[in-house]
């Protein structure tokens, strides 16, 4: 076990929690079986155990050891995925969780829940339950489509049609339809190969198919969760027993227990992470690397990129010359994605139209800005939830979570999520998970919709208003306010201050290529504000006359770092040098517990073409074929990180706070923030 622990501790710090984790509690990973650390979000602290507990995963009760234990172990020596067969009567969770996915050969031992499986068919075993639902759902889809056809067009016999079924009169006000060809749904066909069916089936089957694919993943995830819970339960049980000293055979069992344990662990993790991967032929180190939860995808990892590309809906052809430091960030050839996604419009049936629309708008840049993107996403999810109906034999909570997960991954393909969106998704998922099981489907849907409305209203719209109220007190008559880019809150603030008849002047600093400041300028001017417009090159000059700097933010991290539109750090640094106070306006829902020291490890790369092309200057367009030049890399960063030293005050919906207090908000208001 020690050999395994060493590398893991190195990799562990990838998930950093700063400030709020009691340092005494070691991460549970260090002494648990590798299975636990499948690629998954960082585990909740509830799972951490006191470090003195023994490796407790499988301690068979005495009764079992005598009756069943021996056969289990003998089987373990064969290359068979053996379940962690210690059915612990007090933990029913474990029974369902562990035995179903892995399978066992002894039906009597497994309490009759797990079916027989051959060792080679681990895949089948995993997907067994889905197969069932697949069959049933496709059958259902079939029958429903047939029914629909039959219901809407009585006597839809295609052969009869030519014999004069055209009901349309010579001069009808409304013409009626005649079914000319129907997708035939012969029940007899269903037994013969599915290949022909896929063609024959109408839209209903088409919808059902991708759905199945996706939900199966969700099912697997759910199983994984259950397993983990079972493990925890087992550990607790195991931890309890040795302390009582009631299991004397524990030490003696050790040498028998271990091999089976290992094998089991390997098989479980292999099956969970990559079901199609053979477990045996992979070196353990590599495997463990896979199990480590990745905070986000690293795009310089060839293997993972390939895999992600296979899953991807959006065509992702990687841009070729990327800047060395930023290879871990996704960068695709812009311009090919939108037409490709658009032409697939009707094929993507599993994505709700409103989500699809939002994805397109992200991709084409029609919606930008943290709040706007977040609201658009939430509204799309709201629509999707409204139209959602639980498929038969599925639980709403799980299926909907999986669906939302699908939508989110689609949106990520369109454009990486902002931190605010991540928080909103976290909120929505926790709301779904917390739904009481007693609720009916319509009630649950209504609850979720009103939750989303409440989130938008309270956390975004109301928060903006409160921030404006707070910040406007900091504007005095005669001030010269500088802002950079276009932040929706800052815009509201400036307009509000103008309406409350304060006398001030605004300096709008802008930068290529987005020139968002122009839009802000347009809006301010139309309301009659006194403005100066300049580009970021001139910021050091204009800073002489500025008395306050108001900046928006994409996120504020728990070390006080402000993560915002690229260029913000530069403006902040100049303002700091000139001793101009810097006020960051940021809603509290955008706060994140992450700590970031630079803008390299987490950022977003924009379309490099837009910085190579200068509009209106044809003579400067000699970078046209830059992609072919091996010696040139273009870098179009979207965000940067402003160190907290430069920030005087952060204006949030909780009031004005210094950047050092961000962790407090994150810690104290987390539950209230996201109602988690």
């Amino acid at each position: 076990m020690d050999s395994r622990r060493a590398p893991r501790t190195v990799i562990d710090p990838k998930v950093r929690q700063v400030g709020f984790v009691t340092p005494g509690a070691p991460p549970a990973r260090s002494h648990s079986v590798p299975t636990d650390a499948c690629s998954s979000p960082p585990r909740a602290p509830d799972f951490t155990l006191p470090s003195n507990s023994l490796s407790p995963v499988m301690i068979p009760p005495a009764r079992h050891a005598s009756a069943d234990g021996i056969p289990v172990l003998t089987r373990a020596s064969a290359p068979v995925p053996v379940p962690s067969t210690t059915p612990n009567p007090p933990s029913p969770l474990r029974r369902d969780g562990v035995q179903i996915p892995i399978g066992s050969y002894n039906p009597s031992e497994s309490l009759g829940t797990s079916p027989m499986r051959s060792p080679s068919s681990r895949m089948d075993g995993l997907e067994f339950s889905e197969d069932m639902s697949m069959v049933s759902s496709s059958r259902l889809a079939r029958s429903s489509s047939a029914k629909a056809a039959a219901a809407s067009f009585p006597g839809t016999n295609t052969e009869m049609m030519a014999a004069g079924k055209v009901v349309g009169n010579v001069v009808p006000a409304k013409s009626s339809l005649t079914t000319a060809s129907v997708v035939k749904t012969l029940p007899g066909l269903s037994d013969k190969g599915d290949g022909s069916l896929a063609e024959v089936h109408g839209e209903a089957a088409g919808i059902a198919k991708p759905l199945k694919q996706k939900t199966s993943k969700a099912d697997r995830r759910a199983l994984q969760e259950a397993q983990r819970a079972a493990k925890a339960a087992a550990r607790e049980a195991g931890g309890g027993k040795p302390s009582g000293g009631t299991v004397p055979s524990n030490a003696a069992k050790g040498e028998f227990g271990k091999p089976s344990q290992k094998k089991d662990a390997a098989s479980v993790s292999g099956a969970n992470v990559v079901p199609e991967k053979k477990v045996a032929d992979r070196p353990p180190e590599k495997e463990r690397k896979k199990d480590v939860p990745h905070p986000r995808m690293q795009f310089d990892d060839q293997h993972r990129v390939e895999k992600a590309k296979k899953r991807a809906v959006v065509n992702q052809s990687e841009a070729r010359n990327r800047v060395e430091l930023f290879r871990h960030l996704p960068q695709y050839v812009h311009g090919t994605q939108l037409p490709d996604l658009e032409s697939k419009f009707f094929q993507l049936d599993h994505i709700h139209p409103s989500v699809y629309k939002v994805g397109l708008q992200y991709l084409s840049g029609n919606i930008t800005g943290g709040n706007a993107r977040c609201i658009a996403m939430l509204l799309a999810f709201r629509e999707a939830i409204k139209d959602y109906s639980t498929p038969p034999e599925k639980a709403l909570v799980r299926d909907l979570t999986a669906k939302i997960g699908n939508y989110v991954s689609f949106l990520i393909e369109c454009r990486p999520l902002s931190i605010s969106m991540g928080n909103a998704i976290k909120f929505l998922k926790s709301r779904i998970a917390k739904l009481p099981h007693t609720l009916s489907e319509s009630e649950a849907k209504f609850t979720l919709q009103s939750d989303i409305d409440r989130f938008i209203n309270e956390k975004i719209l109301l928060a903006e208003k409160v921030i404006v109220r707070h910040a406007v007190e900091k504007i005095r008559n005669g001030d010269v306010l500088l802002t950079y880019g276009w932040s929706s809150v800052v815009e509201m603030l400036l307009l509000y201050a103008h309406e409350s008849s304060k006398q001030f002047r605004v300096v709008v600093v802008d930068s290529r290529p987005k020139l968002e400041g122009k839009a802000l300028l347009h809006r301010l001017l139309s309301k009659g504000l006194n403005c100066t417009y300049t580009h970021i090159n001139a910021v050091s000059y204009i800073m002489h006359e500025v008395t306050r700097v108001f900046l928006g933010a994409s996120s504020v991290l728990s070390n006080g770092t402000v993560y915002s539109r690229v260029g913000t750090a530069c403006v902040a640094m100049v303002a700091h040098a000139f001793h101009v106070p810097i006020l960051i306006c940021c809603e509290a829902y955008k706060f994140h517990e992450r700590v970031q020291l630079d803008s390299i490890c987490s950022n977003e790369l924009g379309d490099p073409d837009v910085i190579s092309v200068v509009p209106g200057r044809k003579d400067l367009d000699h970078l046209d074929n830059w992609a072919e030049n091996e010696n040139l890399q273009l870098l179009n960063l979207t965000y940067d990180a402003t160190p907290s030293d430069y920030v005087s005050v952060i204006v949030t919906d909780y009031g004005l706070i210094p950047p050092t207090s961000v962790p407090v908000i994150v810690r104290e208001y987390r539950r209230e923030q996201l109602w988690m």
């Binding site: 339809l177 060809s181 009707f346 629309k357 706007a372």
Partner: protein, 454 residues
């Protein structure tokens, strides 16, 4: 994706008079020996659109089209055929099937469209902008072959479209079709003022594939009884009124009743930055929300140069499309071409010293005598062609008999025509069932035989 598809298959079109007949409505005209409607249906099928409504003018034509569809697409598509009276126009046709439309957006496709532009792009553009109408525009196809190019130019001049676009080429600002454009076209000052800059193009053709918002479409159809055609009435109306929209209010009203949270929806719209400052900027002019609601968007999707897009709406277009489908746009035809770049059905019989050039198609059961020459032509099923016959740039439909020594050039020979020995036909269209007597020489430019000798 909440789209419904209506295919307007037309009836007996006047423009194609000698070709279409009782037996062959426009939708069933053969293009490379397949009914022209099949191109649209297969395009839709490949886009996973399998529930279609096909509207046909005339109940006889509807019967025939329906019969053909049920034969060819059984088990593949779910097609409903609606018969509407003739001369009702495209708007009228939509009016007639309006009560069958339930989805939030409607895709209206003309049945005579031959293209490889996926309908998804139009639908996606429509959705992305939340537009009221989105039209597919494509480059006007070059009609005629190079030899007759000069003559065609004169003809083309009469019927070009004028399309006004915003600088990003996403919004339609002006559309006027050839018939209305005589000497001057009016451009609305308000639209020009809002957008600042307008690009006017005359080289674009309306491909007659529209994505329309259903509620708006039905509203317009209900209110404006006089509207006859989508292209000439509905689309220009929507484009004209996009800044002082009456339909948008209805639209908003709909939303209010459904969601009761208009402010949320409005908010997401108001934050939306249109890539051109057009719609964005205009909202501001009249102070926010009110004006935002009284505008609607009319979008255009312009097909790329590498896409093929043509409409079979004239006799010249019929020849052109037939030529292109076996020629440059051969991927559309669905046949596999031989090494000589032609398609000769295995059951076709060729006499000795008969040559079939590239870009030709010879359907099943056709027989060619000795020393024939076929160039850039399509020959239908079960034709009997004697010796020493030259067929160039022509379309010969099914069951045609051509006797020895004939020369057919640039012509369309409909089904069951009998050409007797040594006829010479240049640029003619011969309607079905005619018999052309021996040694006739006909040189008609785009006209057809009025008299027949049986």
């Amino acid at each position: 994706m909440d789209f419904q598809v209506v295919v307007l298959a037309g009836g007996a079109s006047k423009n194609l008079t000698p070709l279409v007949s009782e037996e062959i409505p426009k939708a069933l005209l053969p293009v490379a020996n397949r009914p022209v409607l099949s191109y649209v249906l297969e395009l839709l099928e490949s886009s996973n659109l399998k529930d279609l409504i096909v509207v046909v003018e005339g109940s006889d034509a509807a019967l025939r089209v329906g019969g053909w569809i049920s034969g060819a697409y059984v088990d593949r598509l779910h097609v409903e055929v609606a018969a509407v009276p003739e001369d009702i126009g495209t708007a009228g046709a939509l009016r007639a099937v309006a009560h069958h439309l339930t989805a939030s957006d409607i895709l209206v496709v003309s049945g005579d469209l031959v293209t490889d532009v996926p309908p998804g792009v139009v639908a996606a553009t429509h959705r992305r902008h939340g537009a009221v109408v989105t039209a597919l525009l494509c480059d006007t196809p070059i009609s005629g072959i190079s030899e007759t190019g000069s003559k065609d130019k004169a003809k083309k001049l009469g019927r070009y479209n004028i399309v006004g676009l915003d600088p990003t080429r996403q919004f339609l600002l002006l559309i006027a079709s050839g018939a209305e454009v005589e000497k001057d076209t009016r451009v609305q000052k308000s639209i020009l003022g809002a957008v600042g800059q307008m690009e006017i193009r005359a080289d674009l053709m309306d491909a007659h594939m529209y994505a329309l918002k259903r509620s708006v479409l039905q509203e317009v159809l209900d209110q404006k009884d006089s509207f006859h055609s989508i292209r000439q009435d509905v689309l220009p109306y929507l484009v004209r009124s996009q800044l002082r929209s009456e339909v948008a209010k209805i639209e908003e009203g709909w939303n209010t009743t459904i969601t009761s949270k208009t402010n949320l929806i409005w908010l997401s719209q108001h934050r939306e930055i249109a890539p051109s400052a057009f719609h964005n900027g205009h909202e501001l002019d009249a102070n926010g929300s009110l004006s935002a609601q009284s505008t609607h968007k009319c979008c255009a999707y312009i097909a790329g140069k590498n896409k093929y897009c043509a409409r079979l709406n004239s006799i010249q277009a019929f020849i052109d499309i037939n030529r292109d489908v076996v020629g440059e746009a051969s991927h559309l035809s669905g046949y596999s071409f031989s090494a000589q770049n032609n398609v000769v059905h295995p059951s076709a019989e060729l006499g000795s010293k008969t040559t079939v050039g590239p870009q030709c198609m010879l359907a099943e059961g056709s027989k060619l005598g000795d020393k024939c020459s076929v160039k850039r032509s399509v020959i239908g099923r079960h034709c009997r062609i004697g010796s020493n016959v030259k067929i160039v740039n022509s379309v010969v439909m099914n069951h045609v008999t051509i006797e020895d020594g004939c020369l057919v050039q640039g012509s369309i020979i409909c089904s069951n025509v009998h050409l007797q020995e040594r006829c010479v036909l240049k640029d003619c269209q011969v309607a079905a069932l005619w018999k052309v007597p021996q040694s006739w020489r006909l040189k008609f430019k785009l006209s057809y035989l009025l008299s027949g000798f049986v």
